[in-house]
Each structure stands twice: as C-alpha cells, then as structure tokens.
Amino acid sequence: MSGGGGGGSSDDQWRPGAGGPVSGDDKCSIVEKTVVNSPVATVVAGLKVGDVLTIALETHPRKRVIARASNGQTAGAITSTHLVEIIECLEGGFEYSAEVLSATGGRVEIEIAPA
C-alpha cells in the first residue's frame, strides 16, 4: 500500500485504496496493511511481531472479516478499502493470512496477503 504525501499539493479526486491487488487481472491477490479493530485484549496481548493470523469471514450477527490467532481465538476485526473484494474472495474459497508487523500498546498492525 502506498503512503501519503501530506501538505501542499492535492489531486482533483481522492483515490481510495492505493493498495490492493498486486496483479491487475486477479482481484483476490490483495496485499494490504491495516490495524486490528475491535481487539480482544486477552488475545491481542499475546501477539508478537512475525505471528501469522488467519483471516476469516464471520457472518453472524453481521458480516465482518476477522483475524484469528494460531489457537483459533479471534484477535479482532479488520477494515480495509478493499473489504468488498476480500469478502467476495473469502466467500469464493480464497484464503488470506496476515503477518503481525508491529504490536505495541494494543496497536496491532498487520499485513494481509494471500495465504
């Protein structure tokens, strides 16, 4: 995912989701950094850099994408500018995992990529 510029110049149109598919012809080949939302404190506290989480689709009580630790416990939910594609791909049987890039003070940054 590309970063921002900040300060000064600006474009005419905002272009959300600068990350996303690394290959234009495969909408599921998404690589993206994000943070864990709705964190489950007891699970997140045990995460460390390099841990690999499983990305899964939860449908009840509402549809959301979650990250699970290696013991199967839910660490939290994820948001993404490519959530629509991620959900469609998970529903189609595509698999993603997420590596923990940093875990400091309850902020867990992960990178989602095809498993």
Binding site: M1, G3, G4, G5, G6, G7, G8, S9, S10, D11, D12, Q13, W14, R15, P16, G17, A18, G19, E32, K33, T34, V35, V36, N37, S38, P39, A41, P61, R62, K63, R64, V65, G76, A77, T79, S80, T81, H82, L83, V84, I87, S102, T104, G105, G106, R107, V108, E109
Partner: protein, 397 residues
Amino acid sequence: MTTIDVVGGVYGERCAFPDWDEVYGSAGRAAAGLSGHVNEVRLHTVIPKPHQARALANFESFGIHVHTHDGDQLIGFDYLHCLADPAISPPPSAIKQQPAFEVNADVAVVFGMMECKPIVSAGLCIYDPQSPNDPKYFNLTGSKAKRLVVIANEGEIAKLSGKSGYEAATDVLKSEQAELLIVKRGLDGAQIYDSTGCLGSVPAYKTKNVFTIGSGDIFVAAFALSYAIHEKGPLESADYASMAVAQYVETSAMPIQTFADASSTKRSPIELAGGQIYIAGPFRELGQRSTVNEARRLLSKLGMKVFSPVHDIGHGPADKVVKHDLAAIENADAILAILNGSSPGTLFEVGYAVAKGKPVFCVGQNMRSNDMKLPMGAGCVVHNDFISTIHLVAWRK
C-alpha cells in the same frame, strides 16, 4: 432501545507514517466508535455512488446503519505523518456543495461537513463545528435542538467568537444557547463550561503510541455516549471521553472502550517535561534533513528547548564540531535519536549519551534487528513511529 444518529462527513484518510488507508471522516469514525454501545447507530452522510460499496462494507461490519446521500466527490485527506498538514483532495475551493438533507433524532451527534449543510432536528444534540477555518454556529445552520452541547477546539471557539480564552468560551455558549460547551485543548485536555462559568477541566492521558487522526471525533462520540445515553455528569463524561481518546490514540482501534475498561485502565495525565533535547540523527540527505527539521519543530512546539547539531553548530571539520556536539549531549536532559537506516555517527551519539546517563529515545524505522540490540539492551526507549517517539520524549518522567 437506544439509538444515536450521527450526522457528518465520511472522507478518505491516508497517512504514510504510520501506515493508514481508510474511509472514515468525523462522522464515520464517531459512528464506528459508538457501534456496539447502543442498540442502533445510524450514520447520515454523503458518499458518491461509485464509492458507496467500499465504504458501506466497512461501516456495516461495525453494525452501523448508513443513510447515505449521493455526492459528486469523495473528499480525502493525505498526511505524511499524523501531525502534518494534510493535502486535501479535491482542494477545498473545488469542493461542490451538495443539497441539504434532513435528519430527525432524539439524540444526534452532528459534525460540520465540507460539502453539505444538513438540517438536523434533535431532542439532544452534541455538535462539533469541525472546521478550523470556517466554523459555523449550530443555530445558524438551520438546525435546531431542544438541548445543545457544543464541543470544539480552542481555535474554532476563537474563530466563532472573535475572542479568546474564558471570554470566547462563555460568548459561544451564550450565542448558541447551549447547556454545555466543551473546549478541546489537545494535550492540555478539555475545559467544560455551562451558564454559570467554567465547571472544571479534565486532563489528556499518556499513551504508548500516538496516532492523532480523528482523536477529536472519538472525544465527541464518547462524550455523547456518556452524557446523552448514560446521563452521566459533564465532568465525568468529559473524563471518560478523554480516556476513550487515549485508548484510540494508542491502538487506532474502534469501537471506543467501555466504561468498565476505561475505569480499569491505569493512565497518567499528561505533564510535559520540557527541558533541553539533543537531536541525534543524520542530516546529509533531503529526507534525513527534513526529518531533523520536523523533529526540531515538533519538540519546540511541545515546550522543549532543542539542540540540533546541524542547526546549532553547522557543518565543519571533526576537530571543531565534535567537541561541541559532545558538550551539547552532556548539557541535554534527554536525547532524541533518529536511527532510521543505520547511521554510525548517530549510534556513537547514542552510546555517548547512554554512558553519560542521559535518557535516550530512538526512532527506529527501516532498521535491522541486530542494529537495535545495543540501544535496546542499554535501556533506550525504541519506537518505530516518529510522532509517537516525539511524544514519549515530551512527557518523559
């Protein structure tokens, strides 16, 4: 059945350091923050049709009911770091105004929008004008509320009233006929006013990370939850809001923390340490020099005196400049070391400072873990985020 209607902008947000690429905006963030705390969160906003599917997927994953109106442009903010001035797309002068929409609510959280002026009718409204350059009085927007709470930062209060300090706050409170006015003051916390004057203040709290984009939105959401839904007092609600902000600033995560989590989380109020700070870091490339300049600016803004070798000594032969560098380290109260990319000179300064018993705070981006062993093992504070490290220096003990 408890419901909150959140009215305001949903905007793109991108930050390079730390990495952040989301579509929230003030109203989107407040709605996400409130999700799960009440039976229903309704978000009323403008999102252009081509962007609706992407935005809605995220909001629906929080369980938010989105009432969206079509627009011409998705507005976005692009930050280099979270305290930098953002580039706004499209430029504010090119933002097209959208037709007003109406919202009727028992409890409404309303943010000023860049592209629309919705008409709100509420029993109790928590209003944030959300405009550093052109804030609007709620009672001049065509909206009305039986009970009104205004939450704004010091700059917005000054813009609205043309005054400053106590006089500005009481003036805005009176003009709005609000029952409360909360003045957000950044690291200085918040002050709470009613018709009798200043009721008191609450502090801002120290955190392990500092991510400030949208922290004010979280304050508004948490205050609304406490004051409007749980009917807690103004000071108690403001303190809960400040705790919720700390949790968000630290984790970048939503929803906002529960009352139980907030009361069980031990946090210390922010007290700025001041003192003399030595900036250790390479400065021979554009990026390196820009980082030093920015560190110098931000440390000064946070109340510290700054010694920067390139600014305060300049370039010169080793036998002339190094003794001044080392003397400055000895005179410093703390060291900010920018270790990014491994600089032998910077690591030497860190070692010298450690030997002299100085507290050392290191920004360590793009570093090999082996290169970090000595600073970490020697007790230096190491963080991979620039803005977080600057603040850890600012409120060090």
